[in-house]
Symmetry: C2
Subunit: 185 residues, 2 copies
Amino acid sequence: MSVYVALLHYPVYNRNGHVVCSAITNLDVHDIARAARTYGVSGFYVVTPLEEQRLLLDRLLRHWREGYGARSNPDRKAALELVTVVASLPEALALITGEVGTELELWGTAATATRPTLTYSEARDRLHHGRPTVILFGTGWGLCRDVLGLATYLLPPIRGATSYNHLSVRGAAAVILDRLLGQNG
Amino acid sequence: MSVYVALLHYPVYNRNGHVVCSAITNLDVHDIARAARTYGVSGFYVVTPLEEQRLLLDRLLRHWREGYGARSNPDRKAALELVTVVASLPEALALITGEVGTELELWGTAATATRPTLTYSEARDRLHHGRPTVILFGTGWGLCRDVLGLATYLLPPIRGATSYNHLSVRGAAAVILDRLLGQNG
């Protein structure tokens, strides 16, 4: 079983439903890397077309992977070693395909389902028996319809006891990885 | 069923195992409030003995609950309305007891279990049939032993596919609320 995570900063919606490029949030990268490491994810791709943002994030990652951060906090190093910064989703998919040497399956996530979804139980089974899978997360107000259209399956929106569904992408990613890969105690 | 969450900034451990007071992290408050709102939690208490930090957080909360933030982002308002800032855990418990009018049960969370824990399935059942419950989360390197000693039960540490257990407290809180109160799709 191999699972990858991609966090897209473009193309995503803003609160008005326009397609935008969102800024990288440092804590998204740290939190999702920590969750990815916890749940045995093989790689975490941070996607933004903005070169300056990629350079900045690469500099931050060097601090934690090679610099003082690596010595002061080896657990954070272990998490952030999973991160690769790329300009586009196709670039991420090409790198992952090169690594696994086989066709990938893409799964989309959204706060509102726009078409039928796998159940989490079906998704867990599929991870064990299916192809290497890339789970796509969107920042801002969520992944653009065109990107969701690339996904073979959507995962169900996270529902709690209420109709409120405004988890942070960091929180939603942790919950989704737990539902797919967590070991219940 | 009524569930409350308390996020303690004191007494918690630092990475060297010393008891410290950690600083409030703005995104902890936002993310845990959003998760609390999603999962139908009745109240979220942010606990710090540092008066300046409480005043600062109260000012930020006013922005989102009454100021420009409330108009520009009503969903965030709905989440942050759950937050109460207090100086100590006893103060939080007194306020909750006043609200529910009955004895409370405290549950502790930790990245490493120091004594037997409920399973998540037992915990779900207990929430439906038991007393109003306050789930305690610690910032920094986790809740001090004395605080965990106040809890009737501990919840199991979150386990993924690996032995790595360094989720952020924001991420752990989202996952734990999902395990206790989530509706699986």
